[in-house]
């Protein structure tokens, strides 16, 4: 609803929005700044904002003391693996629901959405038990499967809303030209669906990366991703702000950047197409 406005109005809006925007962003900015301070500067009173001895030392120490790279690798494998696995299962399902809808397609979609609403804590113990029995507790594979399953409804829904926007006439034309189902998917649909698939991929990596119920409860030393690693960082008093900040900055930076790229798709993905 952008309207014509006077320069004064625009200036007021600019100042107000920037002030609030910077306030909201401040905790992240402060964390990033603190990660470059020495521990002494990090708890200096009054706080040092920009004029301190910038150092990269914390990043090295975090890696040295706690093998940060291993947790990072776990996060990458778990978030990436669950997203790819989810796409493999979801693309055919979403494709068939969008292009060959049956009488019950809508019910199936709604039912899938309903599985997302199941409170995780209600099924925590059974999952925990099954994993112990199968001997897969604290393995990346188990977490990949669990995160794939909790995000599968979102992946299918997102893809479905994207596929729905591809005009069906193109498919009919291809069929008349004698394209097989496989060719149809491979050569016609896939290229048109790539943008939708890409944003689904992005959003789901973000969701899986930040997931903190299952990753905290189903991992220990071996498969723990960054969410669990950071949670282990609560030591009682002061003196570790800079290292905490360095670890946090590394944990959120890749997702922050991905998130900024996918903010438009985020709305569609997280509202199941109810707000576009």
């Amino acid at each position: 609803m952008a309207r014509a406005s006077t320069p004064q109005k625009k200036a007021v809006a600019t100042v107000a929005a920037w002030t609030i925007g910077l306030l909201i962003f401040f905790p992240i900015l402060w964390t990033i700044l603190t990660s470059f301070k020495t521990e002494a500067d990090a708890i200096a009173n009054p706080p040092k904002v920009l004029f301190f001895d910038w150092t990269l030392e914390n990043y090295g120490v975090v890696q040295e003391r706690s093998d940060y790279a291993r947790y990072l690798w776990n996060s990458i494998v778990i978030a990436g693996g669950s997203t790819l696995l989810g796409l493999i299962v979801a693309i055919p399902a979403a494709w068939s629901m969008a292009f060959v809808p049956g009488k019950r397609t809508k019910d199936v979609l709604m039912w899938m959405l309903s599985t997302k609403m199941l409170p995780a804590v209600g099924v925590l113990y059974p999952i925990y038990l099954v994993m112990i029995r199968l001997g897969v507790l604290d393995t990346k594979g188990a977490l990949i499967v669990v995160l794939m399953l909790i995000n599968l409804p979102i992946i299918i829904w997102m893809l479905y809303t994207y596929f729905k926007e591809i005009p069906g006439e193109i498919l009919e034309a291809a069929r008349m030209d004698g394209a097989s189902l496989r060719e149809e998917i491979l050569y016609i649909l896939t290229p048109m669906a790539v943008p939708g698939i890409a944003s689904t991929l992005l959003l789901n990596i973000i969701l899986a990366w930040n997931e903190a119920f299952w990753t905290l409860n189903l991992t220990a030393a071996k498969a723990a991703p960054l969410t669990a690693f950071i949670a282990s960082y609560s030591s009682p008093e002061g003196l570790f702000y800079a290292k905490l900040s360095a670890a946090s900055t590394m944990a959120i930076a890749p997702i922050l950047i991905m998130g900024w790229f996918s903010q438009k798709q985020l709305v569609r993905g997280l509202t199941f197409g109810a707000v576009k």
Binding site: A17, I24, K106, S114, M117, P119, S234, V275
Partner: protein, 288 residues
């Protein structure tokens, strides 16, 4: 347009997703339901079936249940109030013409991408710490005694942390909705002499009603299962034990699986009631 052949192919393509989700939903749920009727305490080697509704009775009549429901309602209600009201105001502000709109948008959306354990720890240590926290410095700057957030007002502190994470979500969705508002309608009403408040009340708010409902419902689903923020900050003490956290403690910490499972089933029922409303809205949109 679909032939018999493509129909059966379509069913085949849906099968893996449907089977996986069905298994994921049914198997654990049936197990939880079964456990909820058992006296099941694995650490003591007790696993007796069946004790009827004893677990449910004990869970519901214990004072911790009533407390946890209260805490959950306050927490979810508080976060919803802050994020929805803040989100509407912020979305309206961001919709105004300004310089650097794209950058402000990026700044505002950022907290949503911060993993829950990071935001909880950063807030807890670097902001709410009564000695070295940024808020303590600010309080001192204004000559006030620093507030020990997490021990003096733990529930409010957690509400604040989680609101910070979800305000961007509400803002982004409401901004998307506002941008689809017909500007001519607003201009016309402005010419007719409608003030800012009446324009907001009679045009903007009704237009946003649907988006607000969606935000409230989706956030409620996610907020009911807040876990990491409590786990990292108070571990459920000082009156911050939500229903989710209570069940977690029963099941994993004290390993009273029967009792916890009864709680789990109650949580499932509760979530379903909310889910029905959300599904109606989403479903209506599917027809359009």
């Amino acid at each position: 347009m679909a032939t018999q052949h493509s129909r059966s192919a379509a069913r085949l393509m849906m099968a893996p997703a449907v089977i996986l989700l069905l298994g994921w939903m049914l198997v654990p749920l049936v197990m939880t339901l079964y456990f909820s009727f058992m006296d099941y305490r694995p650490l003591r080697g007790i696993a007796e079936c069946c004790v009827g509704f004893q677990n449910y009775e004990r869970f519901i009549t214990s004072s911790s249940f009533a407390d946890s429901v209260g805490v959950t309602l306050i927490m979810v209600g508080g976060i919803l109030a802050i994020t929805v009201i803040g989100g509407v105001l912020l979305a309206m502000l961001l919709d105004q013409p300004m310089w650097g709109q794209g950058i402000v948008r990026i700044l505002v959306i950022a907290p949503f991408f911060v993993m829950p354990t990071v935001s909880a720890l950063v807030w807890k240590n670097m902001f709410m710490d009564p000695v070295n926290g940024v808020l303590a410095h600010v309080w001192r700057f204004f000559g006030a005694a620093p507030h020990d957030w997490l021990s003096q007002s733990p529930l409010f502190s957690i509400i604040l942390i989680v609101s910070w994470q979800w305000l961007p979500f509400a803002t982004l969705i409401l901004l998307t909705a506002i941008q689809s508002l017909d500007s001519e309608q607003l201009e016309a009403s402005e010419m007719d002499g409608a003030g800012f408040l009446s324009r907001f009340w009679f045009i903007v708010l009704p237009h946003l009603a649907r988006a607000i409902t969606v935000v409230v419902l989706i956030q409620t689903i996610f907020l009911l299962s807040i876990f990491a923020e409590i786990f990292v900050t108070t571990q459920g003490s000082f009156g911050t034990r939500t229903l989710t956290y209570l069940i977690y403690q029963r099941v994993l910490e004290s390993q009273n699986v029967g009792l916890g499972s009864a709680g789990g089933i109650l949580a499932v029922i509760l979530a379903n009631i909310i889910a029905i409303f959300l599904m109606r809205i989403v479903g209506r949109n599917l027809d359009a």
